[in-house]
């Protein structure tokens, strides 16, 4: 088997593991139910604050993107914790295939499943009376794909750092909201303190949210610039994640932290 075919087979095997692990119902709670609840919350906040139609893209885009990121990034942390707890991380490291690829396959599966948040959020918001017209379907489709890929790359980066943290599960609950705030998914970035605003430029979610709102008819910057920025950031996340994973895997082999016991 050529190395490329093997790499793809390992990715697919990791993907299947994640699907199988999700059979237990945790997927249902994280990727299906949470976006519905977030949408309901946002729509009602929107109704209370203003009847301004300008808010609609924020009300819908925010829960969809939050669903995607929480589904993928939180799962990335969960995956490492699970593998370590189950004792499978040691066996993955001892196997000839790259551990990173198996983990990436799992992350890819969780990001793909988390994409369900988009149609779901559109449906729920329509039921609640917030309808949005996709004015640029091509831009919307490209942005969604770019967002999914970017989310996978960032999830790998997050998973790499979680390899170091024995209690990754606690951290995964903490990182979500800082990312949502900095990326301005739920409100314009201009509302953030000036000193915080530059941070949003290195979070691909902020560019993705902007491009997606453009596709929904709410001009918030040049969508092409947003897509290019996303592409650059995604490549950056992927390279950094790959480099970090290799370094961290060696570190934990040296410190004896691949498993829970020596």
């Amino acid at each position: 088997m050529s190395s490329v075919r093997w790499a793809l087979a390992v990715l697919a095997a990791g993907f299947r593991i994640q699907l199988a692990q999700g059979r237990g119902g945790s997927f249902l709670l994280g990727a299906v139910i949470t976006p519905v609840l977030t949408t309901v919350t946002f729509v009602f906040i929107g109704r209370y604050v203003a009847k301004d139609a300008e808010l609609a893209p924020f009300l819908v885009v925010a829960p969809a993107l939050m669903g995607l990121w929480s589904g993928a990034i939180f799962t990335a942390g969960e995956i490492i914790g699970e593998e370590r707890f189950a004792g499978t991380l040691e066996l993955l490291v001892a196997a000839p295939a790259a551990t990173e690829l198996a983990i990436l396959g799992r992350v890819l599966a969780s990001a793909s499943l988390a994409l369900i948040a988009f149609p779901e959020v559109l449906m729920v918001s329509a039921l609640l009376g917030v309808t949005l017209e996709v004015q640029d379907p091509l831009l919307a489709a490209v942005t969604l794909i770019a967002l999914a890929v970017s989310t996978v790359a960032l999830s790998l980066l997050v998973a790499s750092t979680f390899v170091l943290a024995r209690s990754a599960r606690y951290f995964q609950n903490v990182i979500g909201y800082p990312l949502y705030i900095v990326s301005g998914v739920a409100f314009p970035i201009a509302l953030l303190p000036v000193w915080l605003q530059p941070l949003s430029t290195v979070v691909s979610l902020s560019w993705g949210a902007s491009a997606l709102r453009s596709a929904l008819g709410h001009r918030s910057g040049d969508p092409v610039v947003a897509l290019v920025a996303m592409l650059i950031l995604t490549v950056g996340y992927a390279l950094l994640g790959h480099w970090l994973f290799a370094r961290i895997e060696r570190t934990i082999r040296a410190t004896g932290e691949v498993g829970l016991s020596a």
């Binding site: 499978t88 001892a94 000839p96 082999r253 410190t255 691949v258 020596a262």
Partner: protein
């Protein structure tokens, strides 16, 4: 095959634990303290020792999961640090117990996943998975989730996983731990078969009878050091300088026996298992004390007096019996 499958030279491994809010207190524990030995190709080698002696640490280093702190380890000619990728292709790693499995997967899915991780191409993978399911007797339950398996079935699945890529070296870390006698015996049968087929096997175990029955050579490890290494028969022969006498005496006579044995040169009461009214005693005696012990037992009305062959357990108890609950 006769050249060394494993070469270990002056291997050291220490762990540093941090304590305190900011990890300001550091304590280093040395799990392996400069051990050296070889395992020959095709050999079934046993590593015995108490909990915390360094057995699992050594297995993890051989499996490339853990890096040595100092020293050199070569597995099938490849260095475990520099040539980890080569080592990984040649070995199978099997841990004992219930960890190391994805519980939501079926037995067949588990083997397919690990077969892919070991680079088996799809057509070969399918056939190999079925062969392994057959070998470990899990074919009928292959579609059931691992979480529904008994402990013995999980262990058989572990073994099947370790064998998927036809490893030249199989590392078994306490493969029969916690298994009932029937399940443990099944695992031993498979291990024996693999050994007959020429696979080099490195086995760690607490079970002395298992090591004696399976292994060609065994090493005793204690506090990170190899304290004894030889064939089981040679080790028990060395222990045979003393006769093992087993007898049953009344509870009332036990104290008299203890006092009399304590005064005898070259005799030692090694074990006494108390039942309702009788006690089974095991006495180690050498030279002229043998006949005096037998005479003493006769005087105290002992029954079922037998002379037994020393076992690896006797060797183990002599070497490490004073360790108690220390880890």
């Amino acid at each position: 095959m006769s050249e060394s499958a494993i070469e270990i030279r002056e291997l050291r491994r220490s762990y540093t634990a941090t304590r305190g809010l900011f990890g300001q207190h550091r304590a280093t524990h040395e799990a392996l303290r400069g051990i050296s030995f070889d395992v020959r190709g095709g050999e079934l080698f046993g590593l015995l020792g108490p909990n915390g002696a360094g057995k699992t640490t050594l297995v993890k280093i051989l499996a490339t999961v853990l890096l040595p702190t100092a020293g050199a380890v070569r597995v099938l000619g490849a260095d475990v640090v520099r040539d980890a990728d080569r080592v990984r292709k040649e070995i199978g790693l099997v841990f004992g117990g219930e960890r190391g499995l994805y519980w939501s997967l079926s037995g067949r899915e588990t083997l397919r996943f690990w077969g892919t991780m070991y680079g088996l191409p799809p057509p070969a993978l399918k056939a190999r998975v079925e062969d392994m399911l057959e070998l470990v007797g899990l074919r009928d339950r292959a579609e059931d989730r691992v979480e529904t398996y008994s402990r013995g079935m999980k262990q058989r699945l572990h073994l099947a996983r370790g064998l998927l890529a036809r490893p030249r070296l199989l590392l078994l870390d306490e493969p029969t731990i916690g298994l009932d006698p029937v399940a443990a015996n099944e695992i031993r049968g498979i291990v024996n078969k693999l050994h007959d087929e020429g696979t080099t096997i490195f086995l760690t175990t607490h079970n002395m009878a298992e090591a004696q029955a399976l292994c060609e050579r065994v090493a005793f490890i204690n506090d990170g050091q190899i304290v004894l290494l030889d064939r089981p028969s040679a080790l028990t022969q060395a222990a045979a300088d003393a006769a093992q006498i087993e007898a049953s005496i009344s509870l009332a006579a036990l104290q008299s026996l203890r006092s009399a044995i304590a005064e005898l040169d070259g005799a030692e009461l090694s074990r006494s298992d108390e039942a309702m009214s009788a006690v089974t005693v095991r006495i180690r005696a050498s030279g002229s004390s043998v006949s005096r012990v037998i005479e003493l037992l006769g005087r105290l009305g002992a029954s079922r007096v037998t002379m037994t062959e020393p076992t690896l357990e006797d060797v183990y108890m002599r070497l490490l019996g004073d360790r108690g609950m220390r880890v």
